[in-house]
Amino acid sequence: MDFNYSDEQKLLIDSVERFIQDDYGFDTRRAILKSEDGFRRDLWQKFGELGWLAVPFSEEDGGLGGTAVETMIIMECFGRGLVVEPYLSTVVLAGGLLRLGGNAGQKETILPELMAGTLLAAVGYAEPTSRFNLADVSTTAEKTSGGWVLKGRKSVVLHGPMADKLIVSARTSGGQRDQAGITLFVIDAGAAGVSRQDYPTVDGLRASEIILDGVAVGEADVVGAVGEGFALLDRVIDEATAAICAEAVGAMETLHKATLEYARTRVQFGQPIGRFQVIQHRLVDMYMAYEQAKSMAIMANLKLDAAPEERRRAVSAAKVQIGKSARFIGQQAVQLHGGMGMTDELNVGHYFKRLTMIETLFGNTDFHLKRYAA
């Protein structure tokens, strides 16, 4: 048993932390949010140059062969800086599906560009009525002679507007909520029959509603096996869940530190508010919530390769803890900052908003409690 980072991992931490500190200040991020694209392509290129986009891929596939710990490190640092670039969608989600389920052709054509930072991708796993159930798929893939035709709607596809490739789940057999019969397809974002409605999200990202109206795909565009997409998607969504748990930990850390600093300096009734015992204990409760969340994020990331049952329980347990901690820390950070915490001007509200959406993303606390206890 070992909870220490290797020397290489420490270097990675330094590198990402330095980036956040030097190149991703609050004003930089604010400008990105207001920009047309909603992300910075030059920074993304830099991620590629620094090797961050290649981290989880095997050396065989041209990657760096990193483990979940490296992804955890990057996501935790990104959480500290509230990075909005599409790392989660492109590298963790789409990259994860291709890494574990992609065929040789897909890996050869897509992964090099993805790792170089010249190809962005997003994954459509949710539908208007699916809520958090990955098996609740109404989008259909009808068999044709040379492949399949997709029809349906994928909702809240994060980073959809900037994606060059989309991976979507569709039903090739079975009933609406059957796990069997789901197939994953990779498609060009610009393919005929694909239409998008793009919009900003409350936490500063961009997302799309994606309508698939007779999108033709070939046999070679299936990711993983036909009808067996659920297990692959479930696994990769678990990886992504563990990744956003780490992101949340980073965001909570920054938020707690900012609130602590504010409590030390903000004077009310003749003394810093951090002298008031109620505020002190609140900050202690936030600190404990943070430590418990951090422990669980580590645990979940280290259990991603366990047997599916154990992995699912570990990830759900972590998501429950992170959901509770994130809500508490987010709300209390705003509360203790008083009116300032309510402004768009201060970073606090932005962390709170991102944490709120992480609470929802890939299933909220109730969902994961049930999945854990199932």
Partner: protein
């Protein structure tokens, strides 16, 4: 003890209900029911309708334009307004400065200011908080220096709600820096169009523009705009904060919120069934509704004490704390109900732009509302301050 309404009360209830049904403008109702950001005109129009009926100021003494209603009637009136989802009465004139004026001002000032408040022709805003003062209101720094028959006001106020729509401000200013903090404060009224007044919007984390900073640069205020005595402003300020707490529990509003949650939970799907059948969601809704029932009866008990001439005392801080906790919890459950569509930032649609809404209309503003409602445990004396008040004033600690 008896929970039932008398025949008179029931008749009154019918009267209020049918008045609202007949007079609440459909366009305002549509905007409010959709959860869109209201316009200034919505508030003014509705308040004028109530004013013409003589119902705009139930809390005021009859001689100044009040209704003379019993506590039960006031409760029924609030309930009916809440149930109908009418615009809330903007408190700055009717609930805040109005009572200060009819209690502490000169006859001349009453004649000058009360009519505009009742008719909603003058929109007031509140100059209390300052950038540095926060919960420690008495530490305010905005200065008013007397020069002949004028005060020269310099300083700034913040979190000034709807100042962008305000005609007048009631403002706590420091007229004497040589005495104890609380003793050097005065209560001034002035025109927001006075030279030297600047209003800067503060955008909140939900993207809305509700509050502002106000800057005063050598604003000249005639001395006849001083309320009461110089240096007594803190007394009037405390009177104002303690006076009008009816509706602070926001029971009617929260009832509507819970009804809306139920409606959402009946249509949102989870694993193919309505969300309301999810045992966790169902339990949370039930707990919230029970919390609200407890608050409602606590408020009724407070009103009963009040109608016997006791209070409203500091116990009403309970109403503020529990009321805001419930309002916030309702928005939390709305976000949970929204699922992934909580991500969609429909801000421009919320502000009334003719833009399509992403996701179901019922939850389109769930997340911004949740973010926005965090303010309720901060403003009006943060909930921590309310607990300090209860500890000191009720528990004697």
């Amino acid at each position: 003890m008896d929970l039932s309404f008398s025949a008179e009360d029931l008749a009154f209830q019918r009267e209020v209900r049918s008045f609202i049904a007949e007079n609440y403008p459909a366009d305002i109702k549509a905007r409010f029911d959709a959860g869109l950001e209201p316009h200034k005109e919505d508030f003014v129009r509705w308040q004028k309708i109530l004013f013409e009926k003589g119902w705009v100021a139930p809390a005021w003494p009859k001689e100044y334009g009040g209704t003379g209603w019993t506590a039960t009637q006031k409760y029924i009136f609030q309930e009916e307004l809440g149930a109908a989802n009418t615009p809330g009465i903007i408190p700055f004139g009717l609930s805040m400065v109005g009572p200060v004026i009819y209690t502490f001002a000169t006859e001349e000032q009453k004649k000058r200011f009360l009519p505009g408040i009742l008719s909603s022709d003058v929109w007031w805003c509140q100059g209390y908080s300052e950038p540095g003062s926060g919960s420690d209101l008495a530490s305010l720094k905005t200065k008013a220096v007397r020069q002949g028959d004028k005060y020269i006001v310099n300083g700034s106020k913040t979190w000034t709600t709807m100042a962008q729509w305000a005609d007048w401000i009631f403002c706590l200013v420091r007229t004497d820096s040589t005495v104890k903090q609380q003793e050097g404060i005065s209560f001034l009224l002035f025109d927001m169009k006075s030279p030297g007044v600047t209003v800067r919007p503060i955008i909140t984390l939900d993207g809305g523009h509700e509050v502002n900073e106000c800057f005063f640069d050598n604003v000249e205020v005639p001395v006849e705009n001083l309320i009461g005595q110089e240096g007594q402003g803190w007394t009037y300020a405390k009177f104002l904060l303690g006076h009008e707490r009816s509706g602070i529990a926001a029971v009617a509003r929260s009832k509507r919120g819970i009804a809306k949650l139920k409606q959402i939970a009946n249509t949102e799907l989870a694993d193919g069934g309505p969300l309301i059948e999810d045992p966790d969601y169902r339990r949370k809704l039930a707990e919230l509704e029970i919390d609200l029932t407890a608050l409602e009866y606590t408020e009724l008990r407070t009103l009963a004490r009040e109608s016997q001439g006791k209070g409203p005392g500091p116990e009403s801080s309970i109403l503020k704390i529990k009321g805001t906790e419930i309002q916030q919890a309702i928005t939390e459950l709305a976000v949970e109900a929204a699922g992934y569509y909580a991500f969609a930032f429909n801000r421009r649609a919320m502000d009334g732009a003719n833009e399509p809404i992403i996701g179901p209309a019922a939850t389109a503003f769930a997340a911004p509302s949740y973010f926005n409602m965090r303010k309720t445990s901060i403003y009006g004396g943060s909930n921590e301050i309310q607990k300090n008040i209860i500890a000191k004033m009720v528990l004697g600690l």
